[in-house]
């Protein structure tokens, strides 16, 4: 998981490594993920979200690609 200055830098990074770019996430979306995951982390009853909750969190900020499915073991590189 890495930060990039722009989409062009992501493309260069992936080309250098022979991998296909994955779905991109904006800083605004990343904050929503961070808040959903960690805002209660220092509380006694904190727990990790379950698979359905994770899907709902991702879908809620527009990340519905199978890449973000926590149980999508079938995710594979497109041909």
């Amino acid at each position: 998981m890495l930060f990039f200055r722009s989409e062009e830098r992501v493309s260069e990074w992936c080309t250098d490594r022979g991998v296909r770019p994955r779905p991109l996430v904006s800083v605004s979306q990343l904050w929503q993920l961070a808040a959903a995951w960690y805002s209660s982390r220092l509380e006694a009853n904190a727990r990790r979200p379950g698979p359905d909750e994770i899907r709902a969190i991702f879908a809620g900020i527009g990340l519905a690609d199978p890449f973000w499915d926590p149980q999508a073991d079938s995710f594979a590189e497109p041909a």
Binding site: M1, R5, V10, V25, W31, Y38, P70
Partner: protein
């Protein structure tokens, strides 16, 4: 609160208060228990994906969003410095602390430096991007690589 939850909270409080991972001695001293009991709890918390441990089973590598080792993702909040495991966790630290912070990181390709102010309601506008090579279902297969 059960014992494992007490250990978890003790670990997280130590990270929040110091910016560093606690030793088993720190946690045992805070809870008034033995080091062996803390190590046993760590093992159970690892299985619950709360902690990532070094091979010795007693040293905390990650208590997400906090990192027990230096990383390129640093967070400054209330005069204290923290290391995050990744960009997601860098934003997760101010979310967990419920405090404003400044995230310091860099572009993985160009090396350009990122300085991102994060308030209580989120980060300042930014056109930087986050990219994960590993799909969500495999994040914990090798969390350090992820």
């Amino acid at each position: 609160m059960d014992f494992d939850a007490q250990v978890k909270i003790s670990v997280y409080r130590h990270f929040a208060d110091t910016g560093e991972a606690p030793s088993t001695v720190d946690v045992a001293g805070r809870l008034g228990c033995s080091n062996a009991q803390v190590v046993d709890a760590y093992t159970r918390l690892r299985l619950q994906r709360v902690l990532l441990l070094e091979e010795d089973g007693a040293t905390i590598r990650m208590a997400p969003p906090f990192s027990g080792v230096p990383t390129p993702h640093r967070v400054e909040s209330a005069g204290r410095w923290y290391y995050a495991n990744c960009p997601w966790d860098a934003l997760g630290i101010p979310a967990a602390l419920h405090r404003s912070a400044v995230v310091h990181s860099q572009c993985a390709q160009s090396g350009d430096r990122l300085r991102l102010e994060v308030g209580n309601t989120g980060p300042e506008p930014s056109d930087w991007l986050f990219h994960s090579l590993v799909p969500a279902a495999r994040w914990w297969v090798d969390l350090i690589f992820t």
